[in-house]
């Protein structure tokens, strides 16, 4: 007897299956359609909000890259060009020279050049910088705060979940649009799309 029934049985089954297939396709279309209303054409990338950063030095060790894609950058417009630089010199150093023991940077990544008396220019050699933020802390504590950490996007591989962001104690990591990927100090922010890592809570 099953032989007689089988064509009808088959039809019913394929009808249900086709119906479910269409339903699934529609659901998928719905998901895609809804997310498109909250989408952007370009990519989103990670960045550090320098105002939230607490210079915990974790950026140097938590990046999947070594050395880290986080580098110290310098907003020259905010710099005081001091002879004694809180970002360059060891605290309590007596000699304000370029000797290694006078420097704060563990990798000698800050270059100090004489401009005119009594001003000195400080330049970050990003090839040497490991993103440890020791200088950022020094400059922020004793100076103008013209040194700060930023993710360099020619280096960053843009992980979907940034390992540094995951371990950031200050929740300072945000997603920003790839065509405007920096949050520089001393610049007017115009990125309303920047979103906090922990979301809108």
């Amino acid at each position: 007897m099953p032989e007689d029934k089988s064509p009808k049985y088959h039809d019913r089954r394929s009808f249900i299956k086709n119906g479910l297939n269409t339903t699934a396709a529609l659901a998928l279309g719905g998901i895609a359609g809804f997310t498109i209303t909250r989408s952007t054409k370009g990519d989103m990338v990670w960045q550090i909000d320098p105002d939230k950063c607490i210079q915990c030095e974790k950026c140097a060790i938590n990046c999947v890259l070594y050395p880290s894609a986080v580098k110290c950058v310098h907003a020259y417009a905010m710099c005081g060009y001091c002879k004694l630089c809180g970002g360059y010199h060891q605290p309590g150093t007596k000699r304000l020279d370029t000797a290694a023991e006078s420097q704060l940077c563990p990798t000698n990544a800050i270059k100090r050049t004489f401009v005119e008396n009594p001003y000195f220019e400080y330049t970050i050699d990003e090839k040497l910088c490991i993103g440890c933020a020791k200088c950022v802390k020094g400059c922020g504590s004793f100076g103008n705060g013209s040194l700060f950490l930023q993710v360099r996007h020619d280096i960053c591989v843009n992980c979907n979940e940034c390992n540094i962001a995951l371990n950031c104690p200050a929740d300072a990591w945000v997603r920003v649009p790839a065509d405007n990927p920096y949050l520089f100090r001393g610049e007017v922010r115009e990125s309303p799309t920047a979103t906090s890592e922990s979301g809108d809570v």
Partner: protein, 431 residues
């Protein structure tokens, strides 16, 4: 020297202050004609590259489906798989992948401030659309995580059906947790425990290296362990594939029940013909089915309730909750040791009451989410049991549409396939 003294004074004044908002040292007026360098900004690769990625994904999906269903060539599928491993794995460094995109989509649903790139939506939907038409061809030739595991299948061992069924439930749990964590904004679980990203980027931390190597070593004996027993995207692909319009078949025309393909699948994804039933044989399945259907609502409520009890420990993965709990411990005098998290929070000047409010909101979201997760898992387990009690007559050897990865390994085991290939070459078997 003057500046020196000022510096020391400033140390005392500002040592306790967080971050300066004022210009302590005025900008100098240079007389030597020094020009100030502007800020240097480097940019990520251009957006057009993202579109190239989507185009490559689309072409790879199309080719994979064509090779599996029409061309029926394992060799072609394998070559495509190697290409995908190099392109999506080593060249694109793994991100964003279809598996991880589940989380971006979930976050986009529940967080209004989150903006999801179009590329991510494409990576999420395209493989599923193809699965609705052609089965899991994404797994066969496009997914780089699948590809790296496929390469190490050297001595695949059969596992018992029972073990396969039990381990096969893990992806549902993983999917549920990943969606819960992403939707509440806690973290991207799948990315955090992605075992192969370290290989693609040639860099690991130590724990990750042990885990990744273990998965690959296991993969020598248990074919594609991540795909079958962990991959959360595999769950969605499985659903789509079960409903697929067309699907890979073992034989090119009709099955002759020769049994030759039965052991060819390293993923245990071939269903064998069911033994003949005699009329009048007592059907135990019916009674079990009725029992399971009656149990279903009870299980849903129990599952939801049990998981809602886990919502508090689960919510500790969220930044806000983590900070709030630490602050509460400090403020109630239960601990005197501060952490970087609590120090950073106190630096922001946000009132503690607001932090607690935010944490309570996150926790209530976790509570609802855990309820849904528990109910979902109960439904999954019960449907698995119901499925096992249902008896369907099967006459032929055919791929299990949910579990089959469309890799094409079984083709060459079918004598009918050899006949087809010979006919393609123009050799007639009748002569």
């Amino acid at each position: 020297m003057k500046k020196n003294i000022l510096f020391i004074l400033l140390i005392f004044i500002f040592i306790t202050e967080s971050y300066p908002q004022i210009q302590r040292f005025p900008k100098p007026d240079f007389e030597s004609g020094y020009t100030q360098p502007g800020p240097v900004k480097t940019y990520p690769r251009s957006v057009s590259w993202e579109y190239v990625d989507v185009a490559v994904l689309l072409i790879a999906l199309f080719l994979s489906s064509y090779f599996a269903l029409k061309k029926r060539s394992r060799k072609y599928i394998f070559s495509l798989m190697i290409f995908s491993l190099i392109y999506f794995g080593f060249f694109r460094k793994g991100c964003v992948c279809a598996i991880g995109s589940i989380q971006n989509i979930s976050l986009a649903f529940f967080d209004k401030t989150y903006v999801v790139p179009l590329v991510v939506i494409a990576f999420f939907t395209l493989p599923l659309i193809f699965a609705l038409f052609f089965g899991r061809t994404f797994c066969a030739g496009v997914c780089p995580l699948g590809a790296i595991q496929d390469l190490v299948i050297l001595k695949p061992q059969k596992q018992s059906n029972r073990l396969n069924h039990v381990l096969g439930l893990i992806p549902y749990l993983y999917l549920g947790l990943a969606v819960l964590f992403a939707a509440t904004g806690a973290e991207f679980l799948i990315c955090r425990y992605d075992p192969f990203i370290g290989f693609f980027r040639f860099g690991f931390n130590q724990n990750m290296f042990i885990f990744s190597t273990a998965v690959l070593l296991l993969g020598v004996f248990i074919a594609r362990p991540y795909c079958r027993f962990l991959c959360p995207y595999g769950v969605l692909l499985k659903w789509a594939s079960v409903l697929s319009k067309r699907h890979v078949t073992i034989t090119p025309d009709e099955c002759i029940q020769c049994h030759l393909c039965a052991d060819s699948c390293p993923f245990d994804a071939i269903n064998t013909p069911t033994p003949e039933r005699y009329p009048g044989e007592p059907d135990k399945g019916k009674r079990q089915l009725i029992l399971l259907l009656l149990l279903l609502p009870l299980m849903i409520v129990t599952g939801g309730w049990a998981f809602s009890k886990l919502s508090v420990p689960l919510s500790r993965n969220h930044y806000i909750v983590k900070v709030a709990e630490q602050i509460r411990l400090e403020d109630t005098g239960q601990t005197t040791i501060t952490t970087e998290f609590s120090e950073a929070f106190r630096g922001t000047g946000m009132p503690t009451a607001e932090l607690y409010n935010r944490a309570a909101l996150v926790q209530s979201r976790f509570k609802t989410g855990s309820w849904i997760l528990g109910a979902f898992l109960a439904v999954v387990i019960m449907s698995k049991l119901i499925n096992l009690t249902l008896w369907r007559r099967r006459l032929d050897y055919e791929p299990d549409k949910g579990a089959c990865l469309s890799c094409g390994r079984c083709f060459k085991y079918c004598p009918k396939e050899h006949e087809r290939l010979l006919e393609l070459k123009g050799v007639s078997l009748l002569e």
